[in-house]
Amino acid sequence: MSRIDLALGILDHQLIDSQGRRCGKVDDLELDGLDVKAIVSGRSGWAGRGRLGRLTAWLARGPRAVLVPWDEVRAVDDAVRLRKTAGELRLGRGDDRARQLVERIPGSGL
């Protein structure tokens, strides 16, 4: 993979799974020296983003965060594209839970 400016080229970008589903943002990065070990998506990712991030993480409910190992990243273009589905990577669970609610309303497939 070519060199990418981590702050502008990865952080806060959209995660898209192998089926084209939007499944979170790159909320933080786990670094090992100069190498990226994993992408952090979700609450504990926000906690690393300053005081407001900590406050938001504290106010929010749901799973703490998901770590996506860097090896699962297929490509970085207009979004960060992943090799597996959101389900396999435990991403997008908020949407999964909300879907059960929305599906109870008639015409949810419209």
Binding site: L8, G9, L11, D12, H13, Q14, L15, R21, R22, C23, G24, K25, D27, S41, W46, R49, G50, R51, L52, G53, T56, D78, A79, G92, G94, D95, A98, R99, L101, V102, E103, I105, G107, S108, G109, L110
Partner: protein
């Protein structure tokens, strides 16, 4: 030929969709208070929305990013979050104002109580958002809004002093007090450049899966659509200036906005005007409800968009439902929708710089835009307007306080 046809249809929808409750209120009150002197402020606002709508449409077509993707990437989590909260509050306030506007227009058309029509409006909007495909929504309400073109013959029938009208296109102040004049400048520019228009426009580009092939459509939609939409604003201000100013009427009700066509064109004109208002304001209500949902989904990376269907973007769907419920709760308290509109426009002006700066930055970024990045003209205009909105944003709240929301 087919593309030309679809471009023309898109432009028609943009004209009908240009005017919202903020334009109706500020154009009419500005005309009633200062005659034609403030026409230039409409030109300023129309120019600004053209420049930034074109830019964010281009960013959407080339990089698949809507406004709050860009805000998050460029401003980071914390500053982005503050921008998000501001944008959501302003979108909600605007939605509440639009819902009140729909209810007022329906009340004037059909009688019955305003409260009843608030409920009808919210339920109707929810049904449309739930069941109608994206392209239809845009078109139906855009075309309905074209009834507002009745304002154009109304202008000619009122025989305004065309020399005075022409003078209005150059900034000047002959009579009246300066803070009030400046308050209306802020209001007219703010109503023209409301941020929800770019949230919705850019997200719509992603919804319609624009690619660089659609850049001509984007440019024509923005330039021609908004220019012609601006004509409706001119017409409204001129009618109000010709009709209300000499008689000393201050239009504090939506009914008086509609009166500007009844006097020259009679009852049919009035009905067309009210139908046009109902459609145009409903379209704007839909844009703002969706904008609120687009923004939060894009900020947190949720699945979003009408093209994913209701259950395919569940948190997005819940977000616009919540927007409608909150707007209902605001309007049903009986607050004056005209006042809510003024608040919405003035506060949205404050949110403008944080919305437009990231768009300008990204539109210049080679990594995002490649050969489609801003040319010199877009940058000159983009920077000019950024300066304008910073000035306007700084002046907005002090002017609102000094003039007691345009009443002194």
């Amino acid at each position: 030929m087919k593309t030309l046809f679809s471009i023309a249809l898109g432009i028609l929808a943009a004209i009908g969709g240009y005017v919202d409750i903020g334009d109706l209120v500020f154009n009419t009150t500005a005309g009633a208070t200062f005659g034609y002197q403030l026409l230039w402020a409409i030109v300023l606002g129309v120019g600004g929305i053209i420049v930034y709508a074109e830019m964010c449409g281009r960013v959407a077509a080339v990089s698949n990013r809507a406004v709050f993707d860009v805000v998050r990437e460029r401003l980071g989590f914390a500053v982005g979050l503050v921008t998000l909260v501001g944008a959501e509050l302003v979108s909600l306030l605007t939605l509440a104002a639009e819902v009140g506007g729909i209810a007022l227009a329906l009340e004037l058309l059909f009688g019955h109580s305003y409260q009843l029509f608030i409920a009808v409006a919210v339920l109707g909007l929810a049904l449309v958002l739930w069941a109608m495909p994206f392209e239809w929504i845009e078109r139906v309400f855009g075309y309905g809004g074209l009834c507002l073109l009745v304002l154009v013959p109304a202008v000619f029938k009122l025989h305004p002093d065309w020399g005075e009208v022409a003078k209005g296109f150059a900034p000047h102040l002959e009579t009246g007090n300066v803070p009030l004049y400046l308050y209306y400048v802020v209001g007219l520019v703010g109503a023209g450049m409301t941020p929800y228009e770019v949230y919705f426009y850019s997200s719509g580009g992603v919804e319609e899966e624009w690619t660089p092939k659609d850049l001509t459509t984007n440019r024509l939609n923005a330039i021609v659509g908004y220019c012609l939409g601006g004509i409706l604003s001119f017409a409204l201000l001129i009618c109000a200036g010709a009709l209300f100013l000499p008689r000393g009427i201050s239009p504090e009700l939506l009914g008086s906005v509609a009166l500007v066509v009844q006097s020259p064109l009679g009852p049919i004109g009035l009905i067309l005007m009210l139908v046009g208002i109902a459609f145009a304001v409903s379209g704007a209500a839909i844009d703002t409800a969706f904008s609120g949902a687009y923004n939060i989904a894009q900020f947190f990376g949720w699945e979003w968009g009408k093209y994913r269907h209701n259950a395919g973007a569940p948190r997005f769907t819940i977000a616009w439902i919540v927007m409608l419920v909150l707007a209902f709760a605001i309007v049903i308290t009986g607050v004056n929708p005209i006042q809510v509109t003024e608040f919405a426009v003035i506060f949205s002006v404050v949110a403008l710089p944080a919305t437009y700066l990231p768009i300008l930055l990204v539109a210049n970024d080679r990594a995002y835009m490649g050969q489609y990045r801003n040319q010199r003209l877009s940058n000159l205009l983009g920077i000019f307007y950024l300066g304008v909105i910073v000035l306007v944003a700084l002046a907005a709240i002090p002017l609102m306080i000094i003039t007691n929301m345009g009443t002194q």
